[in-house]
């Protein structure tokens, strides 16, 4: 008999759905981007990755969580290096090194927490931390664990591996990495542990608010300076994850609902943008935005879906990204952190700026030389792009119904 009591609640359901949707999109893209002789291996690795992420979501014990974080990480290294190019190995190597540092920090923290609480179940550790709230060694263990998760989530200043890993990986791997892997291993884990184990103490809140805000601003500024399509999206990802962490840092029911909603939205629209990047790279043979231009006239579906994804990322109504950002900013403001809320609003303008620049350089304006015969990407890329776009629009339009039915119950986990 398998003795295991999974931690399944409303947040878990949101994550299962996001993992399934993003993995499906990656699978679609792989049919076009991965050579036929490597497709079987790719699908097996993708399945191992899904096992790892679902295990992370199901875990209600810190050691179980660590093991499934490792399953996800090992499958990710291999997937990044899948095409065995120099850049792919470099990206995978950076991920391996920083992930190993994160694992070492998490393991060290587990050892201390085991000695403090006598077990590693979420509730055992929570009780032990509550009863020894002034213990310096327990505070150190929590801080070390959280830093390990910041590395896994690619938050500033621990983001060094992320742009290389995302941009050097094959297209379907970029979709799944940017769409869900870092969200499941770094961001969801952080949300789960802060809510269920560590609690919202003032130092934890301050650390989350600071790291979240720095990630929003640094990610957006770095995205502005990129000319590689996928690298720009990678930095944008760092910035958007910052919003989730900012919401978590506010620590109220509304903020948690907003953070989880943005986590889901980000998984969807970032996957869509990486699917668009796959379409552009496959059809034009380049990701350099300086060499592209005006291709929306030749690739109308890719152009339209990328506009929807960009508007949602920038927080333009009535798309899903607008609502989740609005909830986060309102919740952070209501919690009394006015300065952080103001920075988050101003950084939205930066998001708008780098995405407008991307749209103008890639999809609009005069058609770049050599692309007169350009055609739309194949159905394996168009179908997931359309599905992801419909979800983004549907979630935005259905928000008034979703708010009371799904979102506030998610936040009520507090």
């Amino acid at each position: 008999m398998l003795v295991f009591r999974p931690a399944v609640d409303n947040i878990s359901f949101v994550m299962f759905l996001a993992i399934a949707i993003v993995a499906m999109s990656s699978l679609f893209v792989s049919q076009s981007a991965i050579k036929e002789n490597g497709r079987f291996t790719f699908i097996n690795l993708l399945l191992l990755l899904i096992i790892g992420m679902n295990g992370v979501v199901l875990a209600n014990d810190l050691f179980t969580l660590y093991i499934f974080l490792e399953v996800t990480a090992v499958a990710s290294f291999i997937l990044i290096a899948f095409e065995k190019g120099k850049n792919a190995f470099e990206g995978a190597f950076k991920y391996v090194v920083l992930s190993a540092v994160a694992s070492a920090l998490i393991l060290a923290s587990l050892a201390i927490l085991l000695m403090v609480s006598g077990g590693l179940g979420f509730y055992e550790v929570k009780d032990a931390l509550l009863s020894s709230s002034n213990s310096k060694i327990a505070i150190l263990a929590v801080a070390v664990f959280v830093v390990g998760l910041f590395i896994k989530g690619g938050l500033v200043p621990f983001h060094g591996w992320l742009p290389d890993a995302y941009s050097s990986a094959p297209s379907p791997v970029s979709v799944v990495l940017a769409g869900i892997v870092t969200k499941a291993t770094g961001v969801y884990t952080l949300v789960r542990l802060v809510i269920s184990v560590f609690g919202f103490s003032e130092p934890v809140k301050l650390m989350l608010l600071l790291i979240g805000t720095i990630s929003i601003v640094v990610g957006a500024l770095a995205a502005l300076g990129q000319s590689d399509f996928k690298r720009m999206l990678s930095y944008s990802s760092i910035s958007q994850v910052g919003y989730i962490i900012l919401g978590l840092g506010a620590g109220t029911e509304l903020a948690i609902a907003g953070a989880v909603f943005h986590l889901f939205n980000h998984a969807i629209f970032k996957s869509l943008l990486f699917v668009n990047a796959a379409a552009v790279e496959e059809q034009t043979g380049t990701r350099n935005m300086d060499k592209l231009g005006g291709i929306a006239s030749k690739m109308p579906v890719t152009g339209t879906t990328s506009v929807v994804a960009f508007l949602s990322t920038a927080g333009i109504p009535p798309l899903s990204g607008f609502w989740s950002k609005l909830i986060i900013i309102v919740a952070v403001w209501k919690a009394g952190f006015h300065g952080y809320a103001a920075i988050a609003i101003l950084a939205s303008l930066l998001t708008l700026a780098y995405f407008l620049s991307m749209q103008r350089r890639v999809f609009f304006g005069k058609l770049a030389d050599g692309f007169a015969g350009l055609k739309e990407a194949g159905p394996w890329i168009i179908i997931p792009a359309l599905i992801l776009m419909l979800i983004t629009v549907g979630l935005g339009l259905g928000f008034p119904w979703l708010f009371g039915t799904f979102l506030m119950p998610v936040g009520s986990i507090l």
Binding site: V3, V71, V74, F77, V116
Partner: protein
């Protein structure tokens, strides 16, 4: 802490540093196996025989086999490359022993209050009970980690020799 414990800790740290600093991958894998073997002895010293046996069989045994299998699938460096690599690697990690000593001293003298719960030593039956009954889901996860790692080695190195020959 007895003299034997101190000596074992010193040997383990030395083996671990050699693992990181040595330029050859094979030597590094052997260094890691040695580190695990000494850690197993420390675990025996701490009355944790089952943990020691696991450390010895999985880390010093199985993991080393996987490493050596992966290394055997790679192309060795030329003598010149090896000499250059050894030089740069030594230079890069020159400060490591100093950092380890300083960190060790800091942790030793830090006023940390280790107010831990008193631990009893589990009997063999209890360990088996915990491992097979309460931590079975973890075991499944660990099996998947190892499977994924081995699968990764096969995927990344399987046709490497052929591909290099074609180039």
């Amino acid at each position: 802490m007895t003299t034997i414990d101190l000596l074992l800790l010193f040997l383990m740290m030395s083996a671990a540093m050699w693992t990181v600093m040595t330029p050859g991958l094979l030597y590094s894998a052997i260094g890691l196996a040695l580190t695990s073997a000494i850690l197993s002895v420390i675990m025996f010293q701490l009355n944790a025989p089952l943990a020691a046996v696991f450390e010895l069989s999985v880390c010093a045994g199985l993991i080393t086999v996987v490493f050596v299998a992966a290394i055997s699938l790679t192309k060795p460096m030329s003598k010149q490359q090896e000499a250059q690599h050894a030089k740069t690697r030594l230079k890069r990690y020159l400060a490591l022993p100093v950092i380890v000593v300083v960190l060790g001293w800091m942790l030793w003298s830090a006023p940390l209050n280790f107010d831990f719960l008193p631990r009893g030593i589990a009997s063999g039956d209890e360990v088996r009970q915990v491992l097979w009954n309460t931590r079975r889901f973890d075991l499944i996860g660990q099996i998947i980690v190892i499977l994924t790692g081995v699968f990764g080695i096969v995927v990344l190195f399987k046709n490497r020799g052929k591909e290099e020959a074609e180039k």
